[in-house]
Symmetry: C2
Subunit: 262 residues, 2 copies
């Protein structure tokens, strides 16, 4: 504060990315406590509820400011507000959902959006048989209207929930319309200009990561684990063709164009 070298005031702009990614988790834990009428919480308790350790929690919160009380803990309501403000949830964000398949519908009906300042203002799809349908009090518009809709509603975040093949083209269009934040559910790596943020949620990638770890469990952590015996550090080329892919289990089946859940 006044005494020490500031310029890194609190409310510092440099919140680490890893911290930002956890703030929503803390916020959720806090609103849970709030609903149960808890007024004050220690870093230990909150950390447990959020699934992290307390040192990390304290460090994270320290990036926002000094909002706790030594010997006591954090005031729940106050911390909810501070985190909300930091994340930008005290203002409304206008969201458009592009692609109204099962996933798009799930997103449209998701209670967690509205309650956190996200207002879904438009649903768009290319499928004529869906256009006009009412979902959650909203009418599905045709994708041709994308640019109008973005401009009219002041959309600032686009959610892409289309098949992979359509995603990049639609992304280009929303970016051209001035949207700088995109949440992508389609299984493609979207290319965007600098200044545009893309976050990706990929259902099958998460499963693959689980499979990796699951595979290692089978046989016990140290059984098959360190892989004893053979193969101590030689990646000899002559061994390469021993087992061929692409036939037995369909790994080469075309997957990219049918994946998304629209």
């Amino acid at each position: 504060m006044t005494s020490r070298q500031n310029r890194r005031d609190r409310s510092d702009r440099g919140i680490p990315e890893a911290t930002v990614a956890r703030l929503p988790v803390y916020l959720r834990a806090l609103t849970g406590l709030q609903e149960r009428g808890v007024a004050t919480v220690s870093s230990e308790e909150l950390a447990a509820a959020a699934g992290v350790n307390s040192a990390k929690l304290r460090k994270d919160l320290s990036h926002l400011g000094s909002y706790g009380t030594r010997g006591v803990g954090y005031e729940v309501e106050y911390l909810v507000y501070q985190i909300s403000r930091e994340l930008g949830l005290t203002q409304d964000w206008v969201v458009a959902i592009i692609g109204v398949g099962n996933l798009g519908r799930a997103l449209a009906g998701y209670g967690g959006f509205a309650s956190r300042g996200f207002r879904v203002a438009a649903l768009l799809d290319a499928d004529e048989s869906i256009v006009g349908e009412e979902i959650g009090g909203m009418t599905v518009r045709h994708i041709d209207r994308l640019e109008d809709v973005i401009a009219d509603h002041g959309v600032s975040i686009a959610v892409i929930a289309t098949p992979a093949a359509a995603a990049q083209g639609l992304c280009d269009r929303v970016v051209a319309s001035g949207v700088t934040s995109v949440l992508n559910f389609a299984p493609v790596v979207l290319q965007v200009p600098d200044g545009v943020d893309v976050r990706k949620v990929d259902l099958s990638i998460e499963l693959q990561i689980l499979a990796f770890h699951e595979q290692r469990k089978a046989g016990g952590p140290d059984e098959y684990g360190p892989r004893p015996g053979q193969d101590a550090g030689h990646y000899v080329e002559t061994v390469r063709r021993d087992a061929r892919p692409g036939n037995g289990n369909g790994m080469t089946r075309a997957a990219e164009f049918t994946e998304s859940a629209t």
Copy 2:
């Protein structure tokens, strides 16, 4: 340094977590190339397709072994196979989807699963009006049958796509039935014993992270950045109540129990 016995073979079991998380992305990029008939790819090209830089890609792949050819690049088909094997995708994984709302349906119909060795063997829900319904050639079973279904099909990965309130209880049940990998879409932090892996996909957290960055863009990086006006670094108690949450924009609205998209 060498205090603990250090077995650093190739085909080392110690693939960094960050690398594991990217392997599915590389795999997807590679299968895309494969479908376009590309036989060989350089780290530069593959990195671009996967949205990472080439040094990182090479380092990542080096953890699997030495599968490239200097001066040439990587053979696509071979690399697809090696990554698949490393991730455990050359075997089949039996998946149960718990919660058959919009999200569960989206997941059930997701082509990206089957094509990568994930076999959805069961759909379960508590809602009697859904039980018995046919979805993607599968009949929805009642959640009471959970334990039977897991045992009968040898389920090894459970996907939880239920409302938040139901998630922990169901998680406990699948874990008790021997499942050690859980993919959680419900907006709660699941508590599980050691040895069980949980991965979480949270739709609203991703949006919140985008909102954070979007907020900072408005006004330019250093313009509005430090957020002038009120609250320049004093966490004085008397100021604390100046702006109240939880009325204007619904921050305190109960959110935890209605969020998931089921």
